[in-house]
Symmetry: C2
Subunit: 356 residues, 2 copies
Amino acid sequence: MKKTALIMAGGKGERFWPRSRKNMPKQFLCLTGDGKTMIQQTVERILPVVSMEDIYIATNKDYKELVRQQLPELPEENILCEPVGRNTAPCIGLGAIHIQKKYEDAIMYVLPSDHLIKYKGMYVNILEDAAKVAEDGENLVTIGITPTAPEVGYGYIKFAPDKSLGRAFEVERFVEKPDLATAKKYVESEEYLWNSGMFAWKVSTILHSMEEHLPAIYAGLMRIKESFGTEDEKDVLNGVFENFPSESIDYGVMEKEEGIFVIPGTFGWDDVGSWLAVERLRPVNDSGNIVDGNAMTVDVKNCIISGQEKLIAAVGLRDLIIVDTEDATLICAKESAADIKKIVENLKICNRDKYL
Amino acid sequence: MKKTALIMAGGKGERFWPRSRKNMPKQFLCLTGDGKTMIQQTVERILPVVSMEDIYIATNKDYKELVRQQLPELPEENILCEPVGRNTAPCIGLGAIHIQKKYEDAIMYVLPSDHLIKYKGMYVNILEDAAKVAEDGENLVTIGITPTAPEVGYGYIKFAPDKSLGRAFEVERFVEKPDLATAKKYVESEEYLWNSGMFAWKVSTILHSMEEHLPAIYAGLMRIKESFGTEDEKDVLNGVFENFPSESIDYGVMEKEEGIFVIPGTFGWDDVGSWLAVERLRPVNDSGNIVDGNAMTVDVKNCIISGQEKLIAAVGLRDLIIVDTEDATLICAKESAADIKKIVENLKICNRDKYL
């Protein structure tokens, strides 16, 4: 069966401020030091499984030009612009009807644009396995990540260790981000995986599930589909999306559906959730530092310095994140990385939009 | 007797890098937040004692334009440019012969251009007292500072508590920068003052002392003086200075001379020796921070932030100095402030002159 992919690239990525901005979110940044942006890496990674012409990027119109620039080989009609963000269910539905327009049915991968994968061969292997499970009936397949710590920032998937289909396990339930005590229990039980937001299914299967569990969204998607190729196409898209509720695919479909499978993704996954992630992705030097750009250090240890042309002179520092951009410089204690969003919030409150 | 002053303004002030630069050293910076530069404050401070036309500024030719800009009311001929820096003895000698040209003899104050004084009335009072002692015979008078801590960065002056002349005490000896144990002994003895580099003497007295103790420099000065008004004036100045040894007035004259007096300067002195001094000179806010320029802070305490237009976003920081300039940003732990000079040294070694 034909394999296609929808890469979701509408995120704002505020946690990488000031490098990430409203007009340059994380998926369009190069954070790994290899000269490739997150979305470029995402596309490159799936090319052994999905042809370029079958890759769709869902994003908002502000990022269309960035997608074109960073993915010049992608057919322009494969860039699907959501008029407004309405969470993942409408976004995935939009991808599904576009794929359905091209192929009567097909395998559809749904992938985030801003995660990193270490073992790319293994990743391809797992994507292929996921397609097999998705094709074997009406299965919705998700890729789960074996927890390395009781993280409270991810949703979890409880699977049935005794109910397997190939490398996949039947999902018992999806659970929202837990508190720390609960997360610890999950990890100890060895029956939970992190929800990575990567999926595989047939277009027919996911649309069928949406028809059942999200009938209003399904109806809207059908109106959009009917308008394809007509002069009303754009107006219908705008009008329908405007009226969509904000609905995630997890809550709207996965948590309610039967016959869901999870494949443990053993390929070295990282969601690159904050500046701290850079340390996991990049080699540190002898002093424990990661230094980009024009920097000079004296007695600096375990710091992340992301500069540009301007000279960053660092003296006697420990465990800091320093990010210099054209119009803003961030200096942040590593242990306070979660507070970077407070700066972003304050900038919003103060209407200092030029820094967002 | 006529009172004149020589303000020494040739210093490079590397400790305030990156705000201070080779072409903009500390004496030309405004570090107190009142809109006046150090040299402007120095001149303003002595105007109750010395008329503007009797104030001389010794500097090097690169700073002549800065002096003119910052002190537009100073007669241009009072800006004395040393062809090359040869420490304080030749500099003071050059000032002395210029004053001698104008007045047969006069009181000559020698003052640094980059110190701060808190009690300006008391300062004037002490300058006047120093002049009286200087006039009363052939006395060389220096102003000493009562130590507040066993500083190892200053030279010390041992005085004789039982040998006073007005508010002045006879100096027993000058000592170089001590180690910490010695500095502690000095402070405990209550017989030592810091050497502030401020002096008062008659022009005739200091030239006489130089003739005795620094005969080669004295001879050179006389050649320069003879050339005044001739077409060779500039060449003689250049040639003589080039051949001068580098000699400080402390080592060359004060340590060897008899009849030296010190007046304790009780006027709230600060040599503004590093960024840390800014905390003594400027009010801190409720979080213990001193913030200039465009900054946004979240959980930042006891930091000095000196920015400009660019946004400095500081998160979770303690005890840092952050200085942002057009082409360089310094981030330095307060306890490592002395290492800022290592950055300057490294820049020199790497020939990155544009940052100096």
